[in-house]
């Protein structure tokens, strides 16, 4: 199995309503930046894996609406209906198995364009749940009450992560700077789905992310210090209503698979970029991955994470992008000292059903 590097990363600006661009153009911003970062052209790419969701794009087989911008005509193109970090795992496999040399991985979403209540409502089982009219926030609220009741985390723990994410948005030029907020303001905000408040959910955003993957040979040609994909893992848990929210066995499996491929042993990575659309889940996932919640905004989600403002589908790939910037030492005002190893995490599905982990490192 060949070694695979990330040789280029790019993101659009993620904002509330990107009414200035159609979604293919939104994706172009990320692709142009990733290609320029890698120092190659679209013609040098030999395959593409895209991530998008038809319901958000308002079009069936919506990957065909970005086939031109990803340059996949007459090339192998695949698409996953999940977070973009899943597309990264797929793109990694294509190169690791020796069939391809240079791959483009993308994710895009405009949460602003569809009706979120309809889109999220369509995720429910049609036989025994959907007619009840619940939404994704209710699923999160039901879970949050169980997590808080267990004593593992408190609403204050979750609010502190929201505060840190909002502060970090000010030093992340790819997201909209959010108004600073105190823990008390997060806790006292109007309720979303009890016990959760409106700031417990990551903000509604439009945005895109793109990445160039390459074989070791190509990577060493393009860069003196490529970022290596040292391990990957993914697993899907039970349907939300059949899974207690404290059951993180899918996350465990994804992390263990990824770390087992590395030579890290039990060493703790230098940084964690963790995805969770709801703040109590971020407490859970970050802790389970090995991060310290008190490090939020530093070695935990220096980018600010999902709560700094990314769309669904894109968040996981954005986490990988931040890890690449940090490992290269190019993270500007939020650069961590001596970051060599990073874990990036993504999640997808109602009630955080599927988890993805990518282990990244620099060095020979």
């Amino acid at each position: 199995m060949g070694r695979v590097a990330i040789v280029g990363v790019g993101q659009s600006v993620h904002a509330r309503d990107r009414n200035d661009v159609a979604y293919a153009e939104l994706l172009l911003e990320a692709i142009d930046e990733a290609l320029a970062d890698a120092g190659i052209g679209l013609a040098d790419v030999d395959n593409a894996v895209t991530a998008s969701l038809d319901f958000y794009d308002g079009r069936t087989i919506a990957n065909m609406a970005v086939a031109d911008v990803v340059g996949s005509y007459l090339k192998p193109e695949s698409r996953i209906c999940s977070d973009g970090i899943g597309a990264l795992l797929y793109g990694w496999a294509r190169i690791a198995d020796g069939a391809h040399q240079v791959g483009l991985v993308t994710a895009h979403c405009k949460e602003s364009e569809g009706n979120l209540a309809t889109i999220e409502g369509a995720a429910f089982d049609p036989f025994v749940q959907r007619r009840l009219g619940a939404d994704a926030d209710v699923v999160a609220g039901l879970g949050a009450r169980q997590i808080y009741a267990s004593g593992a985390f408190s609403p204050t723990d979750a609010a502190a992560l929201v505060v840190a994410a909002r502060a970090a948005s000010a030093v992340n030029s790819k997201v909209t700077t959010l108004e600073p907020m105190t823990i008390a303001e997060v806790l006292d905000a109007p309720r979303l789905a009890t016990p959760l408040g409106v700031f417990d959910r990551a903000p509604n955003r439009d945005g895109s992310c793109a990445m160039i993957l390459a074989t070791e040979e190509v990577a060493r040609d393009l860069s003196d210090s490529p970022v290596w994909i040292a391990g990957v893992g993914t697993a899907t848990g039970k349907y939300w209503a059949d899974r207690h929210p404290a059951d993180l066995s899918a996350l465990d499996r994804a992390r263990d698979s990824a770390v087992a491929m590395t030579g890290w042993g039990t060493d703790v990575p230098d940084l964690f970029e963790v995805s969770a659309q709801y703040a109590h889940q971020l407490c859970q996932f970050a802790t389970r991955l090995g991060a310290q919640l008190t490090e939020a905004g530093r070695t935990l989600n220096p980018s600010g994470g999902w709560h700094a403002g990314n769309p669904v589908t894109v968040s996981g790939l954005s986490r990988v992008t931040e890890c690449v910037h940090q490992l290269r030492g190019h993270a500007g005002p939020r650069q961590l000292h001596d970051a060599q190893r990073a874990l990036a995490h993504g999640v997808a599905g109602l009630g955080a059903q599927s988890h993805f982990v990518a282990a990244l490192e620099v060095g020979d």
């Binding site: 025994v128 009840l132 009219g133 619940a134 939404d135 926030d137 009450r145 169980q146 009890t194 209503a241």
Partner: protein
Amino acid sequence: MTEPTILHQKINLPYRYTAGDFHKAFLYGLANRRIVGSRCPACLTVAVPARPFCPECSAHSGETMDMKPKGTLETWSTATIQGVTRTYGLIRIRGADTVMLHIVDAEPSTLQVGMELVPRWSPEPVPEITAIAAFIPT
């Protein structure tokens, strides 16, 4: 051109879902004011609502079984969705290894984990989850 051009369209997507034997047993059970579960022939997990595959081991469900129309509240959440404020709960029907989503009709401040709930049946005997209007404290 300074103003963005926004096209407003609507996709009308009617759908017919074939329920299959196990969901059918559950839904027609509701129409007769019964709560029907299914038991896994391999690991004996009891799932309510009845379903074709075991949520624990993925085996094809073996038989359906009538459950007592009683359950306990495991968690709840109150939300206002499209102008309607409701409390949703996850309810464990007595004897079940799973929980089911439904509406809980009670003052949220009176709710407690483990409290007993019973269905309040809708006057309409329809084979739909809405045959139970809500679960209410006993």
